[in-house]
Subunit: 169 residues, 2 copies
């Protein structure tokens, strides 16, 4: 498990193979066991394969362009009730999903839809029930081996252990 | 991996064995590879074994009482810069930590410190640098096999797949 956590990387370039419906169901069926504050399970998932809809979603965030070419976009919607732990819990279930995806050979990349007007627009495009807000989406697909992650403005690597951990004994 | 994600449960009752320092370092060394928005890595970790400090922390949240008896409390501090994805990213790293802990036999239970005045108080108790806010903490220890999770007011179980997933094809 440590190795899976260490080696998980965002994948933004995918091959053409679709993600089978049963595979998506398997991912959700694992991730739904993720813990949440007061067991609220604030997450709902909308699996989007429709190319036009994926293209629309890809224009609703500064770092969402990869949603257009991903075979599948898993939109994460939350109950809009202002509970302070909702975003924290959405992060937990996202990590469960991305780790589960990697374990069966799928690449993934979470992204945030923003600003709020774009979240509202995404809810309209997805025809969501009132009160469900799609603030995050995960691109899913089989990694394109011929297309390594492209350089971008985001720094790479990670902080070292001594920069991260202190003790109170 | 799916099985690890499905079977992770919050553990609030621990045996007396301490969590070795090298084990905590191993957990952080895995979790530090978790992805975050713009690779900001907003997380810093404070490992607390001091019993008095754990007791103080256990009184700074409605569901924090289990921090007092845990052999180790891993406080998660964030940069207080108002970046909208910080809480989401803290949830991601928390899930990495709890899964990594379970894979080596450790039980864990995340909790939230609140309200804001208690977060400020925790920062004072931990003597954190300005700008670091300890909003979350994870109790860590070896599960007490003789002490099953006690019943409480929180509903158990999880929503079923059809309640969670819809499609747009």
């Amino acid at each position: 498990m440590d190795e899976a956590i260490r080696t998980l990387r965002a994948v933004r370039h995918f091959g053409p193979d679709p993600v089978p419906r049963t595979t998506v169901e398997e991912l959700i069926d694992a991730a739904r066991w993720t813990g949440s504050a007061r067991n609220r399970q604030p997450w709902r998932f909308i699996a989007v394969t429709d190319p036009a809809l994926r293209g629309d979603l890809s224009r609703l965030g500064s770092f969402a362009v990869h949603l257009a070419a991903a075979p599948l976009v898993l939109v994460l919607a939350t109950q809009d009730n202002g509970f302070s732990d909702t975003e924290f819990d959405m992060g937990r279930v996202t990590q469960s999903l991305c780790l589960a995806a990697a374990s069966i050979g799928l690449g993934s990349c979470p992204t945030t839809l923003h600003p709020a007007s774009n979240v509202t627009r995404a809810a309209e495009l997805l025809n969501l029930p009132p009160g469900l807000l799609p603030r995050h989406a995960i691109a899913l697909g089989y990694p394109d081996p011929g297309n390594a992650p492209s350089p971008n403005a985001i720094p790479t690597g990670r902080l070292a252990l001594p920069d991260l951990l202190t003790w109170r004994t």
